[in-house]
């Protein structure tokens, strides 16, 4: 399973994110929900998110050399960044994605 969400109606370098999950495991479900929340609150309107279900397509793990699930990969802007876990620590996510946390 995979899904995409792209909004590009604002300026700046776009974010390209890939979230690797494993079916409906609790951590995978939490990671999807947390990413939806963070994207809505902190990413403005210029990002592209792809969700990859490795349970259905395990071979897709090789593209980003995924070992642990869930893992979020920021492929753009370079360099590539990986965040392992269910993304429940919002501040940690924003730091890794190099986004400014809310004041």
């Amino acid at each position: 399973m995979s899904s995409e969400d792209m909004n590009d109606d604002s300026g700046g370098e776009p974010l390209k994110l890939t979230l690797y999950v494993a079916g409906q495991t609790p951590k995978s479900v939490n990671a999807i929900r947390n990413l939806e929340r963070i994207s809505a609150e902190h990413m403005g309107n210029r990002y592209k998110i792809e969700v990859v279900d490795l349970k259905a397509n395990p071979q897709l793990a090789r593209e980003h050399n995924i070992v642990a699930i869930p893992t979020l990969v920021r492929s753009l802007p370079v360099p590539i960044q990986k965040i392992i876990g269910d993304l429940s620590d919002t501040e940690k996510v924003l730091v890794h994605l190099q986004l400014t946390p809310p004041q």
């Binding site: 395990p58 070992v67 699930i69």
Partner: protein, 490 residues
Amino acid sequence: MASIGPDNMADIVELRRRLEEAEATLRAIRDGEVDALVVKGGDSDRVFSLGDGDASYRAFMEAMDLGAAALDADRSLLYANAALCDVFGLSAATLLSRGLLDALDPGSAAQIGSLIDKASSCRQSAQLTVLCGDDRRHLIVSVSPLPLAFSQGYAITFTDITERVLAQAAEQSERVGRAIMASANEPVIVCDANGVVTHATGAIAELSAGPAVGRRFSEAFPLHFQIDSGIIDAEDMVTVALGGQSMRGIEARLDRGDSGTRALFVSAAPLRLDGGSISGCVMTMVDMTERKAIEERHHFLMGELNHRVKNTLTMVSAISSRTLASSISLSDFKERFPRRIEALAATHDLLVKAEWGNLSLQELIVAETAPYLPARSDRVTYPELDIRLPSRVAIPLGLVIHELVTNAVKHGALSNAQGVIAIGAQRHPEFLEISWIESGGPTVSQPERSGFGQTLIARSLGNGPNAGAVVEFRPDGVICRMRIASGDLR
């Protein structure tokens, strides 16, 4: 000394990045931030869940209404869900520290242990009564073999059916109660806390005018109590019973209008459902009317017997002294006295059979002539009139007839083979006249002296124009006319 070129620097940066990524992955796994791993195989990769199945299973177990537990091979408690903790009234921590079997009463632990013994190969199930705190819970306990990683354990479920069992028991109790009410021979009435009849046995139909259920007890049964009973009326009795006091065998009277008055023994007790507060009262009534009548009659007869024994002894004494005075010899006395006593006894026998009620004239004649005549003899005839004689008349009249028949046997109509006696009776407004007319016997002559027999005949039935007896010794036969005042016949 070798220098590090740009390519080598790039390799070092890449290696450092991979190392950091590996460390982050390990840290995430160690901290429980991931629940699946990708494992590379030869041609394909595979995804393995970390604890996902167990978590789902536990979530499922926690969501169940059934109490559930897992034991290892040593019967140590591995897991108990919240429902099981609720059943036993213990926290999960307490249950885990004490162990499942040790948390139960010894009897229940032994029964469940027995189920576990048999459950190594197949599921075992039994209904048990388990002491949980202060309550007894009815549980269906099922034990199944449970494969563990390195051994076999046991999965145990506890289905609490206490409410169902109690409901069944209550239903059964209700059925028994209804059956008792339907089968009881005595009147039993159940009242609610307001004194209104809610249940009644069929036997109350004899005491209540119309249906009693739905009416106040005091209205359905307007009882009257004796002053010394301490109970004022039926309403008071219900109030006392609802107050928690029991009463047994209180005498009461129930007026039923045209149906007469019934004598009752009434008992009352508070009704406590499940041993709790008083929710009503139960009244029982035993109809003592017939027994009271028998007791009263018995009491009356005892008094009457005492009176008659005294009278009889006085009469025996008089007969003895007068017979002795009129006897010409001791042998004469020995002959006359026993017969007069037997005559008296014959009348008494009749009176006892009639329970000291009225005798018929016919019965009296048969009893007094029986010693001298065969049964159904046609030598004595008497009227078919239904003349009833009270005991105060029957006793002296029996003695008079005895004197007449003994005289007839010795000297009169019954002293030969042809003589007959015609007994007649005629009612007059003021008296009843009974005639004794002998004929066909030897010629009769006036006795030379008046003996006790004549005295007894002349005096026993009283004096006056409407009472007494007159004997005529006519040559063709003795005639005696006896009068009994009409007032003495009532």
